[in-house]
């Protein structure tokens, strides 16, 4: 490759990384705000979250199309090729995280001022704090190509799943205690599920960072602690 081509290629990659950083910032904000809107019954905040999503979709498409154009134009090989593949994968995961946060915001609007058991809201916020930590760390790991940090995120996902299972169990109990709780508990159930899914996407990103840096796929099984499917049977008596 001539020096000219190399530097255009670097500029292309820089453009991809910048867009992904912008996407990460938007998704983080959407996630924090959606759960805050839910906890504080803050409808304008929920609307703000929903209004942020189209920008994320635009950036996602841009990353996808620019990455492909970069590959077609510059014919990168080995690590450079992995850079572009990774950009496409990570943009896809961040876009989905935004969708899931938007869904929480929609539910915050729908629930409105319905009673929400304090303990559940605390549980959701705690779960969200963990996921937010994962998201920040994995985006840092991507920016710094830090595979050890990525692996750490990957290992931590089990704690989120365990928290989800216990929240799930508690929500079922509230529903059984009083049928008037069923409607908003169902919303909270889906919100908890969304946060757990966001955790899964941070794990995907961690796997992509590992692939980007090492060229290898993480073959070992994920540390899955989601027992909610069984828990609901136990709790259901």
């Amino acid at each position: 490759m001539s020096e000219h081509i190399v530097s255009s290629y670097d500029a292309d990659l820089q453009g991809l990384r910048q867009r992904i950083a912008e996407m990460g910032g938007i998704a983080e904000k959407m996630l924090v705000d959606s759960v805050a809107a839910l906890a504080r019954h803050d409808k304008p905040l929920a609307q703000t979250v929903i209004a942020s999503d189209p920008r994320l979709d635009v950036l996602h498409r841009e990353v996808e199309e620019n990455a492909i154009l970069t590959i077609a134009r510059r014919q990168p090989l080995a690590v450079d090729l992995r850079e572009t593949i990774s950009a496409i994968r990570i943009a896809g995961d961040v876009e989905r995280i935004g969708d899931l946060a938007k869904n929480i915001a929609k539910r915050a609007l729908a629930i409105g001022d319905d009673f929400q058991p304090h303990k559940i809201v605390v549980g959701l916020r705690h779960m969200n704090d963990l996921v937010m930590g994962q998201l920040k760390d994995v985006l840092d790991a991507y920016a710094q190509k830090d595979t050890a940090k990525a692996l750490d995120v990957w290992k931590r996902d089990g704690a989120i799943d365990a928290l989800y299972t216990s929240l799930f169990r508690e929500l079922l109990t509230y529903m059984m205690e009083d049928p008037r709780n069923i409607s908003f508990c169902t919303h909270l159930l889906f919100c908890a599920k969304n946060i757990e899914r966001i955790g899964d996407h941070t794990t995907n990103i961690a796997e992509t960072v590992h692939y980007l840096v090492t060229g290898e796929t993480l073959a070992i099984d994920r540390p899955k602690n989601d027992r909610s499917i069984d828990a609901s049977v136990e709790a259901g008596v």
Copy 2:
């Protein structure tokens, strides 16, 4: 391009299309079997569905990596470039459809022989028939590059969302009638949600086929009829 390069490129594309066709076949079978396993309390069938998922994941990665290698090697332009981008997008959607079907199968295992209201099971099967029709048609549309057929799938998604909303409402009613229904109704709620999400993925694929054939993105809003978020508030008193 020399003739030699053109024909290797065609062979590459053929390989991508074959893998996607195989993925489509596996995903269709997983979807049908997962709902059948749920309706008939057929645990071995549910296990079969779960066991099919890894093959789908392998094919997904192969499509992604081969598509990228094809782009790097052959530097396709215009419609040829869209072919490879589309293959990546569609493989991603089909892989997610498999994940969602696997989740239904896991719930089928967890519910076991618990009572399931006949009406709900009929509703789920009906919803699933619609989604299966969408999936078959959109995969045909892709194979035949038939944008009219793809657009037809895209328009039909509203019917699935409407059905989901009514199932959702009914499930909430059962839960309120008797707390013993809450546990398995929660599973059925997530199953219905999964089928609705599969419908969304068929819509994504329809959009990709449109982009593949025309080079343009479907800009108009999707025909969304999912009112379940509001419905649960109404039903919640």
